[in-house]
């Protein structure tokens, strides 16, 4: 192990050993070589197709030309408006409230616009599913808008057509709708719901089915089992002392923004700190945040829940005898865990909650409801909108069963040819249908089967509305005229309903017109980004017991399991989004790929290692997938992310990864046994993981303690390194005037979700570099999320640490710059002037935190022209040959200071927020002025957990951390 040479006199030696990769744990030579290199493997070498000789020739020629060009001043033109739009001040960004939905989940947004160009997305603080935070998908939405591969025109049988042609076609639909079927994505819009009702009224014999590959069918079915009606459960994690998550990645999926915010509020290390137990298959973000994580096959998660239920009822939890009897014999091999968890849940009755993931069977959800009610858990129930109250699998089955008699299939969004279960045989069936219409943002796998391809508007181009999981209704407000000749879902359904001239705006307005104050209400709501008073009605459901037979199912057999999980690009809809493709998976740190995740033991049994290829066979289907050995993965479980391996999506995402939908059966959409896997002899595949990039070489950079130890010595973090009195060789700056900026990262709240890194990318014009360049260590993201394992390879626990520029007061980078391109500002920022940088990379070498990035190539020059519209005009687009790094979003600081000067209103704490802190849903990042004694950073700086990374080098970092404190159950130790 890479033990740090620890001085024995240290009061708190670094007793835990943290590791990031299996290679590091094993001290493999590759890892040593990588850690000791000046640059990551090959980053500094020119290994491009251009040979050195060619290169010199080009250089000579271009230098000659450059010399001539410089003689003339380029003429630049100013093209003012002819008629100035209201409220537009060139150079001042505007924000519009909007929202977007993914399946049943919708999030409120505030979208920034520069002279009509949407450039950046923030969360809407007034939206009950966002609270001002965003997820990475929301951040990346803006890149999708400018995607060069979006479709731009209506196509009929591959030929360009017009919307008028389609309207004419719509008029030929049979009057009673016989033979007409619609397959839409989840309806999460009251307006679309009303229109679908109108459609079914106009065409009574038509069929309308909703299907999303990542749906909450099991939760819905579970509620119907338990309560006999469709209700939704909403856990309040802020009120929970004990949380037991069974296969539920609630901090990263679904309502994760609200959940992680509530959860983080209770992770302050005091007597009120909550405790999180996770039982799961694949290692998720929630599992990494857990105090106690038990890895089991996903099929066994339900077994564990039943064992816990048995233990709870034995200990006297009052549940229906039918349930008690059904689970009485349930057992789980780790009895100690089950007993301790049950005891903890009972002890915190009223403040303990059980949550179950979407992948778990309906009976698991029903059992959790039963237990939660008995525990008086902080869970509220709401009704489900009637248009979401039928399981999507059922709707899909009804549609598929009738496909034989369908003559016109209208597919509204979605990509069924790619993401439907393989047993549906969609492609085969659809080819027999005379008219297939597909509304889609690009010509994809489904469009290839459809006679009519209709281009779909982006969420920032069209009016609409969304309803969130909790029932918060919010407007979708366009920021820009459609870039191409596109229409939104509601406009297309309106054409089908015979109103081809209705605009989206009027359609949405009509939904909210039945009020006396309709106009005022509408204006107020569009401004706020939410329709006030639109939460779903709370209900108090009553339990039934007819379902308890499902509890008696035999425990899962111990055989190889295949599990489908959600990766960086969701269900595949973001496959052409390079920010998300390049954002490392929170746990495996893989970029630009999915992989078959295996435990070390299972990999050894199959005699495969990272980058081997295995053939996974399941019910007559097979898929070759590269292997990634994931610490903490349960044995005999293959986890593979959906959404990859798109064959028709665009330049970015085509054939990235493998398509796991090929193995998805409608009877087992999330996991199943009876799968076989065998290595493909001789085949290898290059997977790129960033887990060893920016290695901290075993220094004590993450610090954590268990709660009782912390309470004994709250200041442990600062005592973990010993150093002589720190004395600088250089003259120190004066940091006593003006603003002194600082960023504090609370490791207790950080779950490693990547949202901050993608937000930073969007705000600061950070280029993507592609898989090959990432493998050479040339990645450009300013925030590196380090994921540390601690403990054994089988049962590690995890600490995530966001590492950005530390803005050291004694910055080592500044001392070595030969041209003074990186210099300290009087406000404590480590400034960099790109135009002064000559690219020696000395600063990069001398930075102990490895947070500086070098532009090895001219990344921005190869971008499609349209993507450039996303760029933030307030941040310089960097050229080849210069260093860049986190600036604390200095453009926002400057904007705040200019506002302070022009408005003569003093800046308050929180007026300036960098993009990372703004996006963080759990509030792990806090930014502010250290000299303001009431600022949050000044307060957090006094927290005993506060420590600076590598403080012993006397760098005096301005970015500091709050050490992690876990709340372990003493009985599990």
């Amino acid at each position: 192990m890479s033990k740090i040479p620890v001085d024995q006199r240290h009061e708190y030696p670094q007793d835990n050993t943290y590791w990031r990769s299996r290679e590091q744990l094993a001290e493999a030579p590759e890892w040593k070589a990588l850690a000791q290199r000046e640059f990551a493997n090959e980053a500094s070498e020119l290994i491009d197709p251009v040979s050195r000789r060619n290169f010199l020739q080009f250089m000579t020629a271009s230098m000659g030309l450059a010399g001539l060009q410089a003689c003339r001043r380029p003429v630049q033109q100013i093209l003012p408006y002819t008629r100035t739009p209201e409220d537009v001040i060139p150079g001042v960004a505007q924000h519009y409230a909007s929202s977007f939905s993914m399946g049943q989940h919708s999030f409120g947004l505030l979208v920034e616009s520069h002279e009509g160009r949407p450039t950046k997305v923030e969360g809407n603080p007034d939206h009950s599913s966002s609270f001002g935070g965003t997820n990475a998908y929301a951040q990346a939405l803006v890149l999708d808008l400018y995607d060069a591969d979006r479709s731009q025109a209506v196509l009929n049988k591959g030929k360009k057509a017009t919307w008028a042609d389609f309207s004419a076609f719509a008029k030929t639909l049979p009057a009673d709708g016989a033979g007409v079927a619609v397959l839409s994505e989840t309806i999460a819009s009251p307006t679309l719901a009303a229109q679908s009702k109108a459609f079914l009224a106009k065409y009574p014999k038509a069929i309308w089915a909703q299907y999303d590959p990542l749906n909450s069918d099991n939760a819905l079915a579970g509620a119907k089992l338990a309560f006999g009606s469709a209700v939704r459960a909403h856990a309040d994690y802020e009120k929970a002392d004990v949380i037991a998550a069974f296969g539920a990645d609630f901090l990263h999926e679904g309502e994760s923004l609200a959940a992680s915010r509530q959860w983080a509020k209770r992770r302050k290390p005091d007597s009120q700190m909550s405790r999180l137990y996770v039982v799961e298959g694949q290692f998720t973000v929630t599992g990494a945040a857990a105090d106690h994580r038990v890895r089991v096959q996903t099929r066994q998660v339900f077994d564990v829940l039943r064992a816990v239920a048995a233990e709870l009822t034995k200990a006297g939890l009052p549940v229906d005898p039918a349930v008690k009897d059904a689970v009485a014999s349930a057992k789980f091999e780790n009895e100690k865990f089950v007993k301790a968890l049950a005891k903890d849940l009972l002890a915190k009755k009223g403040k303990a909650v059980i949550v179950v993931g979407d992948a778990q069977p309906a009976a698991a959800h029903a059992l959790a409801h039963t237990l939660n009610l008995a525990l008086a858990a902080p869970v509220t129930f709401t009704a489900v909108p009637d248009y979401q109250a039928t399981e999507q699998a059922e709707q899909l089955k009804a549609l598929v069963d009738s496909l034989g008699s369908v003559t016109t299939l209208i597919i509204l969004g979605g990509n069924p040819a790619y993401n439907l279960p393989f047993d549906v045989k969609f492609e085969e069936r659809v080819k027999k249908i005379a008219n297939v219409v597909h509304l889609s943002d690009r010509v994809d796998e489904t469009s290839a089967l459809a006679g009519w391809h209709l281009p779909r508007s982006h969420a920032f181009e069209a009016w609409g509305d969304t309803i969130s999981f909790t029932g918060q209704v919010a407007p979708v407000q366009p920021l820009i005229e459609p870039l191409y000749d596109t229409k939104s879902d509601i406009e297309v359904v309106s054409i089908l309903n015979g109103n081809s001239d209705k605009r989206g705006y009027d359609l949405v307005r009509a939904t909210y017109s039945d009020r006396l104050d309709a106009e005022a209400f509408w204006r107020r709501s569009v401004h706020a980004g939410v329709f006030a008073g639109t939460q779903l009605a709370a209900v108090t459901p009553t339990l039934t017991t007819k379902w308890t037979a499902a509890l008696a199912a035999p425990p899962a057999k111990a055989e190889l399991e295949l599990q489908f999980v959600v990766g960086s690009i969701y269900d595949g809809r973001f496959a052409n989004n390079s920010w998300l493709q390049e954002s490392p998976d929170p746990m495996s740190k893989l970029v630009w790929d999915n992989a078959a995740l295996l435990s070390a033991k299972t990999a050894a049994e199959m005699s495969v290692k990272n980058g081997s290829v295995i053939k996974i066979s399941y019910k007559g289907q097979s898929l070759d997938a590269p292997v990634w050995v994931q610490p903490g993965q349960p044995d005999k479980t293959i986890s593979i992310a959906l959404g990859y391996g798109r064959s028709k999506v665009g330049l970015v995402g085509e054939n990235v990864g493998v398509n796991a939908y090929k193995l998805r059966h409608s009877a087992a959409p999330w996991f199943d046994g009876s799968v076989t896997a065998a290595p493909v002899a001789g085949a290898t595949y290059k997977l790129v993981s960033t887990q060893d990039h920016g290695s901290m070489e075993g220094r004590p950079v993450v610090r954590e303690r268990n709660l009782p130890e912390f309470q004994r010595d709250p200041g442990f973090a600062r005592k973990m390194v010993q150093h002589p009195k720190l004395q600088s060789l250089f003259k120190e700056h004066d940091y006593t005037k003006g603003h002194q900026w600082s960023l504090i990262v609370d490791l207790n709240s950080c779950v490693g979700c990547n949202n901050c890194a993608v937000a930073c990318q969007a705000e600061n014009n950070i280029p993507v570099v592609g898989k090959d360049q990432v493998s050479r260590g040339r990645y450009m993201t300013w925030i590196r999320l380090d994921r540390y394992f601690e403990g054994s390879e089988e049962e590690p626990h995890v600490v995530h640490q966001a590492v950005m520029c530390m803005h050291c007061e004694n910055a080592p980078c500044e001392q070595v710059c030969p041209v003074g391109a990186t210099i300290h500002s009087p406000e404590g920022l480590n400034d960099i002037a790109y135009n002064r940088c000559i690219g020696t990379k000395y600063c990069l070498n001398n930075c102990p935190y490895k947070v500086r990035r070098f532009n090895f190539l001219a990344w921005h020059e190869t971008e499609p022209e349209k993507i450039k519209m996303q760029h933030n005009p307030n941040v310089t687009v960097r050229m080849r040959g210069v260093i860049e790094k986190c600036t604390y979003c200095v453009q926002r600081i400057n904007a705040g200071k200019i506002k302070e000067k022009t408005s003569k209103v003093a800046m308050k704490d929180g007026d300036v927020t960098p993009a990372c802190a703004q996006a963080c849903p759990s509030g792990a990042l806090t930014f502010g002025d250290l000299l303001d004694p009431n600022s949050r950073v000044a307060q957090l700086g006094k927290d005993p957990r506060n420590y600076g990374m590598l403080e012993e080098l006397n760098t005096k970092p301005r970015t500091t951390y709050l050490a992690k404190v876990r709340n372990l159950n003493p009985e599990l130790g």
Binding site: T82, I89, E827, N835
Partner: protein, 212 residues
Amino acid sequence: MQLFPKWTNRIPTLIAAGVPFILGGAVFGFWYWGSPKFLDVGYAPKQPVPYSHKKHAGELGIDCLYCHGPAEKGPHATVPATQVCMNCHTFVKTESADLAPVRHSWEKDVPVEWVRIHQVPDYAYFPHNAHLSAGVGCVECHGRVDQMPVVSQQEPLSMGWCLECHRNPEPHLRPASLVTQMDYTPSEADKLVVAERMKTINPPQHCSGCHR
């Protein structure tokens, strides 16, 4: 046999004496003739409309902010929209041949293609509003525009020139209400106002003040 005449012996000495001179000359030449002060000052390109600031700002006395209003509110002073021209020219000089491009722009909804004169590099961010609220007069950077029939660049707009003022702003400041006054001479009362202002303006002299 003597191949070279005797005077060639002096060539190395001449080179030794000449090279520093030539190199020094090159450095001086680049420093002087290559500087913004030499290259940019006086730049007065031909504009699509022969608009005279002397006529409008000087003789007619239209305030700068009538056309360049966003200078107060945002980073860019902006060239006014065609709409602003048409506010008056719907009634005045409606047939003027010089104004044909403006009328064309108004009727066809296409912008007038003005040529940019004052330009800081893309990596430098100059906010007009911050400077106006601090009390930097328009004249300080743009010169006596009210006397220019054709606008030309008056100042080098180089980094050194910016820093001169950032290091010692006091002589360049005036009460914020008088920034557009072209023929301004400070009164004693104004000097007191400026001296008070000096306590708060704190112009940045570090990189990220302007480069970000």
